[in-house]
């Protein structure tokens, strides 16, 4: 089964992102939302963790990145979605797991 994981915490203040990566299986998708979007920016340890996470797809909620002024700093290869795209991801995957 393919899971959509949502992460809403900053990787620099909380262990949530790391915990999610440790338990997400190959073929699943991690969607970064709210303060989680900072993990999708370049030039930091979270960007390294993302490049090293083989087989996992990453997406970021555009409205949250835009609100925080980091839209232009998003790493390449991370899919940007709006709320409609979030709904589509939830429908396309078999289940959704929130990492709170």
């Amino acid at each position: 089964m393919a899971t959509l994981h949502t992460v809403n915490k900053s990787p620099f203040e909380s262990a949530t992102f790391e915990t999610c990566l440790g338990l997400a299986k190959s073929g699943s998708t991690v969607l970064l939302i709210e303060d989680g979007v900072y993990a999708a920016t370049t030039g930091n340890s979270a960007a390294d963790a993302i490049s090293n996470a083989e087989g996992i797809n990453f997406a970021v909620l555009g409205p949250d990145a835009k609100a925080r002024g980091v839209e232009s700093k998003l790493a390449d290869g991370i899919k940007v979605v709006d709320y409609t795209g979030f709904v589509e991801l939830a429908a396309e995957h078999d289940t959704v797991q929130a990492w709170l």
């Binding site: 949502t6 709210e34 929130a98 709170l100």
Partner: protein
């Protein structure tokens, strides 16, 4: 597709309720069904009708009430969590001997079984919290 939504945080303090609202709105716009929105933990605080936020800010509770009205949403507030935190409808306030209630339009108070049922009956359950 049939979605249910769980909201675990109150308005303003965390973005969880805002994100849940935007997701729900987008799902409805895409033609999906929302089986239920369940408010748990501090999420029950979304159900107050006494909030008067600044004019230039959104009114989180009123947004939910309006969305429920337009789309005939079933918005359930967990009774145990609501009693701890002081969210009351008229019946419950009366039963508890309280002199006021504060629930907003479109919310109803019920038990945790409604959350489990939402999980069973929906194709997807999404949890928004902190």
């Amino acid at each position: 597709m049939k979605f249910s939504i769980q909201v675990n945080e109150g308005p303003y303090q965390h973005q969880a309720s805002d994100t849940a609202y935007q997701f729900t709105k987008a799902a409805l716009a895409a033609g999906h069904e929302i089986f239920r929105v369940f408010f748990y933990h501090d999420g029950v605080n979304n159900a107050t009708r006494l909030a008067v936020p600044p004019q230039d800010d959104r009114n989180v509770s009123a947004q939910w009430s309006e969305l429920a009205k337009e789309n005939d949403l079933d918005m359930v507030v967990c009774i145990a969590a609501a009693q701890r935190r002081g969210i009351m409808d008229a019946d419950e306030a009366k039963r508890q001997g309280l002199d006021a209630d504060n629930i907003a339009d479109g919310f109803r108070i019920s038990g945790l079984g409604q959350l489990i049922e939402a999980g069973i009956e929906s194709d997807r359950l999404l949890v928004f919290g902190a």
